[in-house]
C-alpha cells in the first residue's frame, strides 16, 4: 500500500490520507493554516511511501520540527495509525498493544468563580465522573480556601486535581500545594513550566502531592524525569505530535515509574487519546471537557457512561464520518 495524496476538508477539519487502495487514514481537528503548512512542508515526506514504514516516516518528519509546529506531523501520524489498523481490521489500541477497552474519566472544569467551580464539581460527581480538575487560574488567597472548600463539598471518595497552567510563582505553588497535601488531591498539574527544572524540582521536593510538567517531546520527558523536576508527565496530541510521540513519552515515564497524563480530548475529539489510554498502563484517566467545539462530522462521538469511556472497537480509530455532514462542511479542500 502506498500513500498517494493528502486531502484536507475545511471547515470540517478532516485530513484524509489517500492510498492506491480503497482504504484511507483519517484525522480530525485541523485548521486551514495548519493544513496549508502541512501540505507544503510535511506531506512530501509521506507521498509514495508505505504507511507500514511508520517509524522511518516519523523520524523524517521529526527532523523537520525546527521552526514548524509539532502538530503538523502529529495529525499525519494519527492518520497513519488509523490507516494501518484499518488495514488489519483491528482497533488502533490493539494494533499498538491492547491494555484495556474502557477507561475512567474525570471532568476538567470550566467554571470561573469559586461558586461556579463548586457547583460544577458537585455536578460532575453526580454525573458519575471519577474526578474533577480545577483548571481556572485564581489568586493564591482565593485558591487556597477553595481547595479546602471543594474537598468538603465533594467528599473524600472523589478524585480532585488542580491545574496551575505553568503560571504560578514558586511561592504560590508551594502554598497551594500544601493545601492539596492537606486535602488529598490526586495530583497538581503544571505548577511551573517544564523548562524550569530547578523551580519544578523545588516544588516537587517540597510537596507530597505529585506535580506534573507538560512536555512536547520524548527528550523533554527524559530531562524532567532525570532531574526529578516533576513527578508525572503531562502531554497530548496534537501539539506534542501524534500517537507515536505520546507512546515514546509514556514509555519513558513508565520506565521511571511515573504517570503520563493526556491533556484533554486532543485530536479527533478524543479518539486518539482514547486509543492511547487503551494501550498504556501508566495513565489513569481520560480528561473530559465539554466546552470545546465538538466536530459535527463524527457520527459516533465518544460518550461518558458511568464515568468511563469505551474505547472504540471498530477498525482503526473507529471514527464514523458522516458523508452528508462532511459535504456540508466542505467549502475548501487543501490538497497535495
Amino acid at each position: 500500500m502506498k500513500i498517494t495524496g493528502v486531502r484536507i476538508h475545511h471547515p470540517a477539519g478532516l485530513l484524509r490520507l489517500c492510498t492506491d487502495g480503497e482504504l484511507e487514514g483519517w484525522c480530525v481537528g485541523l485548521t486551514p493554516d495548519i493544513s496549508r503548512n502541512l501540505v507544503e512542508h510535511m506531506a512530501p515526506v509521506i507521498i509514495d511511501q508505505s504507511p507500514f514504514d511508520r517509524e522511518r516516516l516519523w523520524q523524517e518528519l521529526a527532523r523537520r520540527d525546527r521552526q514548524r509546529h509539532t502538530a503538523l506531523r502529529g495529525f499525519i501520524d494519527i492518520a497513519l495509525w488509523d490507516l494501518v489498523a484499518k488495514a488489519a481490521a483491528i482497533p488502533v489500541f490493539r494494533y499498538i498493544n491492547g491494555f484495556r477497552n474502557h477507561c475512567p474519566v474525570y471532568k476538567r472544569g470550566a467554571g470561573i468563580s469559586p461558586d461556579e467551580i463548586l457547583e460544577e464539581a458537585q455536578q460532575a460527581r453526580n454525573d458519575g465522573y471519577k474526578g474533577y480538575k480545577v483548571a481556572t487560574p485564581l489568586p493564591e488567597e482565593t485558591m487556597v480556601p477553595l481547595i479546602h472548600h471543594l474537598r468538603e463539598t465533594v467528599g473524600d471518595d472523589f478524585y480532585l486535581m488542580l491545574d496551575g497552567r505553568g503560571q504560578l510563582t514558586i511561592a504560590d505553588a508551594i502554598k497551594m500545594g500544601r493545601a492539596l497535601d492537606e486535602t488529598g488531591y490526586y495530583w497538581f498539574d503544571r505548577p511551573r513550566m517544564a523548562i524550569d527544572t530547578t523551580g519544578g524540582k523545588q516544588v516537587a521536593d517540597e510537596l507530597d502531592t505529585p506535580i506534573t510538567a507538560e512536555v512536547t517531546t520524548p527528550l523533554e520527558a527524559s530531562q524532567v524525569m532525570s532531574t526529578q523536576s516533576a513527578d508525572h508527565i503531562k502531554t497530548g496530541t496534537p501539539y506534542s505530535g501524534g500517537i507515536t510521540d505520546i507512546l515514546k513519552i509514556a514509555r519513558c515515564a513508565e520506565a521511571f515509574g511515573a504517570f503520563c497524563h493526556l491533556d484533554g480530548p486532543g485530536a479527533c475529539d478524543g479518539f486518539a487519546h482514547g486509543h492511547l489510554l487503551g494501550a498504556i498502563k501508566n495513565s489513569p484517566f481520560f480528561e473530559w471537557t465539554d466546552h470545546d467545539n465538538p466536530s459535527s462530522i463524527i457520527k459516533n462521538p465518544l460518550q461518558v457512561v458511568e464515568g468511563h469511556i469505551q474505547i472504540p472497537s471498530g477498525p482503526g480509530l473507529g471514527m464514523d464520518i458522516d458523508p452528508d455532514a462532511l459535504d456540508d462542511q466542505t467549502a475548501e479542500i487543501i490538497s497535495t
Binding site: 508505505s50 507500514f52 514504514d53 511508520r54 517509524e55 522511518r56 516519523w58 523520524q59 494501518v84 488495514a87 488489519a88 483491528i90 490493539r94 494494533y95 499498538i96 498493544n97 491492547g98 491494555f99 484495556r100 477497552n101 520524548p218 527528550l219 520527558a221 527524559s222 524525569m225 532525570s226 507515536t244 507512546l247 515514546k248 513519552i249 514509555r251 519513558c252 513508565e254 520506565a255 521511571f256 515509574g257 494501550a279 498504556i280 498502563k281
Partner: protein, 396 residues
Amino acid sequence: MQIKDVKCYISRGEPEIRKESVMDRGNMELVPPGITGIFTHTHGFGNPPVAGAEFIGETEEPTYNLMIRLITDGDLDAYAVYAKGFNVKELEWQAKAFLARYAHMLIGIDAFDREFIWQRFWMAQRFMYTGRQLLDTIDRMLWDLAGRHVRMPIYKLLGACRERVPAYCNVGGRTIDDLVANAVKRVDEEGFIGCKDHSYRGVKGNTEMAFKLREALGDDIFLFHDPVESYTYEEAVKIGRVMEKCNYTWIEEPLQDYDIMGLKKLCATLDLPVLTLEWIGAIGGQPYNTAPYLALQAADIVRQRGIGITGEIKQAHLAESFGVQVHGGTPNVILAVGNDPVFEAFMGLRPRPPEEELDCRGTLVVENGYMEIAWSDRPVVEPDWDDVASKAEMVI
C-alpha cells in the same frame, strides 16, 4: 480475537547424543590478574582439567518438545515451543504447571491485548517468581500471531524504520594472532562491516590485540571490544584510551553492571562510548532498571534485553528519549526503531532463502555485511493440530 483455551502438546523431536562439557577457555590461565594482582573474574575460572571434563552419551536418545498453544475464537492460534528435554514425564509436569498456574491468566483475554498480558505477567515475575522466560515466550507468541493476522513480519507491524542494518561478527582465537587472522578472514570472506572480540587478556594483552587488529583490518572496519566485565575501573580507563587511539566504536561491559558509580565515572572519563546493562538485563528488569543509569549518565549505549517484543520496544523508546542507542535487539525490533543501528551476527551468515520459501513471518538474512528480514505476503503454513495431536506423545 479472544483466547479461549490453552493446550499443551509434547511431541518427539530429533534424537540426540547427550553431551556435557566445559567450554575451552583458551589461554585464560595466562591472563595477567589485573594491576593489583587481586583475584578477579579476569582469571578466576582457570581451565578445565585435560581429562574427565567431558561426558558423552553412547547412543542417541529421543528428545521431546513441549508446545504451548493458545486457542482463540479466530482463524489463527498463538503457539510456541516452551520447553525441550529428554524426559516426557518432566515436560508433562512443566505443562501441568503452566496450565495450573498461568492458563487462567490468559483465557478470556483478547489476543491483541498484549500490553495487559505483559503487565500482568510482569507482576507475576515477582509474585510467582516466574523468571523472565515465561513472559518472553508468551509476548513473542502473541506478536507472532498478530504478524500472521496482518500477514506481515513484526517489524512492519511495529512500523518499519529501515529494511536492513549493517552487521558485524564475533571473533575469537586461542592466541592474539589466531584472533587477528580469524577477523581478517571473516571480514574479507563474509563481508561483515566489523568485528567484536570477547577477549579477557587484560590491559596488556588486549592492547596488543587492539593495535594488531586495527593494523591488519585497516581504517574502514568497525571494531568493538567486549571484555565481559573483566576489568577494574583503572584497567578500564587504560584500555579505553588504547581503544580510542585504535578508533574502536565502543567498549562493552568494561565493569560489572552493578557498579553504577564506576560506570558513571567511566562514561565521563572516556571519549569511547561505554555500552552496558547486558547482564542486569539478562536477569530482568528492563526498561525500569535502565532509567536510573540513563538519568545518572552511567551508560552511553544500553544493551537491549527487554522482555518480549513489548519489553524491547519499551527499552528502545526509553533510550531514544535520552538520545541514546540500544544494542542487541531482536531483528524485528532492530528494524522498527531508529536507535539500534548495528546487528551482532552471532549466528554467522544466513543466506537468503529462495523466494518460494518465504512467508509473511519472514526469515532472518545475514549476508554482504547486512541483516534484513526477507518475507513475502504468503501466509504461514499453520500446524494441522489434529495431526500434531495424533502424533504427540501427550496432549494436556
